[in-house]
């Protein structure tokens, strides 16, 4: 699904953001990308969605070679992904329904299908009944759920979340993470960039640590957390590989 081979990224100002990294992410994986600020996590995501082009190496995403992809084909690559941003990136002038529907309309989906799917996705993220409200009328947690609904609405193969819990309180962060786990259970590959170690420890999964542009850890952490138990809270989940988690 995602294949990176000896990938390096050097920005025009000479900053070497990623150094010769190689990895594979298979379909259905739940992956955390962790690491300190400036480690190269954001560059990694930008390469995946082809906001940036790698300087060297080979990147294949959903069967597309991102080193050779034509500019006009990039939108079609992005349609196979859903992206959740830390700052939600919702359009204030649009209500919740239109913010989600926007992603479907942008790829030319007929209005009838938009109506049906948006209703379903808003229900999935627990926002049914809020369609007419504007982003500035709802909480940060709800805004992130709208952002998540927008990312999911086109039924993406990969969901990329860049610090999805960065701007919301711990309880809401947990809810968002639970949703991401559930989405993953339905077969979508989920890649989360975060620096919140607590969440990584609670939810587990494949943890890739990037530091100074290089992959320093790539391991799997098991937890006892069961996503089906929606009443779970951060307090009553346990980490199996606590030692590994401490090392992240």
């Amino acid at each position: 699904m995602i294949h990176l081979e000896n990938v390096s990224k050097v920005y025009p100002n000479g900053t070497e953001a990623l150094k010769n990294i190689s990895l594979d992410i298979k379909q259905g994986e739940f992956v955390f990308i962790v690491g300190p600020s400036g480690a190269g996590k954001s560059t990694f995501l930008k390469l995946l969605i082809r906001e940036e082009k790698a300087t060297f190496g080979k990147i294949i995403v959903n069967g597309r070679d991102l080193m050779k992809i034509r500019k006009r084909k990039i939108p079609y690559l992005r349609r196979t992904m859903g992206i959740v941003f830390q700052d939600f990136r919702l359009i204030d002038k649009m209500n919740i329904y239109d913010n989600v529907a926007f992603a479907m309309r942008a790829i030319g989906t007929p209005e009838k299908a938009v109506k049906k799917r948006v209703k379903y996705v808003l229900k999935l993220v627990g926002l049914n009944g809020t369609e007419k409200r504007r982003p500035n009328e709802i909480s940060g947690g709800e805004q992130q759920r709208v952002s998540l609904a927008r990312a999911l609405v086109n039924n993406p193969e990969i969901l990329i979340a860049d610090e999805p819990t960065g701007n919301i309180d711990p309880e809401r962060s947990f809810e968002i993470m639970k949703m991401l786990v559930e989405i993953n259970k339905r077969g979508t590959t989920v890649i989360i960039v975060t620096h919140e170690h607590d969440l990584v420890k609670k939810f587990g999964g494949r943890i890739i640590r990037i530091a100074d542009g290089e992959i320093t850890h790539d391991e799997f952490i098991h937890t006892k957390y069961q996503p089906d138990k929606l009443s779970d809270s951060p307090e009553n989940t346990e980490t199996d590989n606590s030692e590994e988690a401490e090392n992240i």
Partner: protein, 304 residues
């Protein structure tokens, strides 16, 4: 692009005007002001040219024929004049017609005594030229024809009118051109400001996989509607002012009333030209401005 998108994009274009009504209003105000100034300059220039051209048309020259020339020879000579390229028209004036023109000033008694052989005038032709700037050449050609006594010398007037017409055309064109460039510059900046205020929207559209044309079209439609609206408003304002200004100017210089374009002659061309210019400015300005954002990606669109 899918057919279902086209209706949506047009709807979005219209909706955007209302959603961004303050910027839309600012754009319309700027564009209307610029179009009124440019349109006024163009109308003044066109009317000046029409005025000068009409004055030029009235400026016919008189070709005096030798007194001894018979009427038949005079008619023959007329066809020679007609063959000259720059001659637009010529009208025969017999010696008795010429005398009639002086009847009032001479008085009936003297007029009667000058009938027949006592007529001091010869036959003549009133000749209109196509191009006054070729006055001297044409007069020389006429003078070469046998049987011509002299040609009335109005080279001074012809020269002045030609220079004035040339001046008005050149200056008018430059004024309109400069104003058009200034207008495009101002409009382009206004559109850039609009784009800047909506860069966030553009970045989201691109992140969800919208193609560049999908992002571009609502902005272009919006700018074209604003351009059309501005063109219509500007032409309405100009046409509303046209007759009062024309009447006021005619009060000062009488010939303006007869020698300039009437409201009926200008309203349709003015409305059409200004609407088309408004649409074109919206189209060009939006294409140039949005390209800047379409070439960027993700965070760089919103300056992150």
């Amino acid at each position: 692009m899918k057919l279902s998108s086209i209706g949506y994009l047009f709807k979005e274009g219209f909706k955007n005007i209302w959603n961004n009504r303050m910027m839309s209003l600012a754009s319309v105000v700027v564009l209307v002001s610029c179009l009124i100034i440019t349109g006024a300059a163009a109308l003044i220039s066109v009317n000046m040219s029409t005025l000068i051209s009409k004055v030029g048309d009235d400026n016919q020259i008189t070709v005096f024929l030798e007194k001894e020339l018979s009427d038949l020879d005079s008619v023959r000579l007329g066809s020679e004049i007609g063959k000259i390229k720059n001659v637009e028209s010529y009208r025969f004036n017999s010696r008795s017609d010429v005398l009639k023109e002086y009847r009032k000033s001479l008085g009936d008694d003297i007029y009667e005594s000058m009938q027949g052989d006592g007529n001091p005038f010869g036959n003549e032709y009133k000749v209109r030229l196509k191009d006054l700037s070729k006055y001297n050449d044409t007069v020389t050609q006429i003078q070469k024809i046998e049987g011509i006594e002299k040609v009335s010398d109005r080279s001074d007037v012809a020269g002045k009118l030609t220079k004035l017409n040339y001046f008005v055309t050149i200056v008018g064109s430059w004024v309109v051109l400069i104003l058009a460039v200034v207008t495009l510059f101002i409009i382009s900046n206004t559109i850039k400001m609009t784009m800047y205020s909506r860069r966030f929207e553009i970045s989201i559209m691109k992140s969800v996989g919208a193609t560049n044309s999908f992002v571009r079209i609502p902005f272009i439609i919006e700018a074209m509607i604003i351009g059309l609206l501005s063109g219509l408003l500007a032409s309405a304002a100009l046409l509303g002012m046209y007759n009062p200004v024309r009447n006021a100017a005619s009060g000062i210089i009488g010939m303006i009333a007869d020698s300039t374009l009437t409201f009926d002659q200008i309203w349709l061309p003015a409305l059409t030209v200004m609407s088309v210019i408004g649409i074109m400015i919206g189209l060009i300005g939006s294409i140039i401005s949005i390209s800047r954002y379409l070439n960027k990606e993700g965070g760089s669109i919103i300056g992150k």
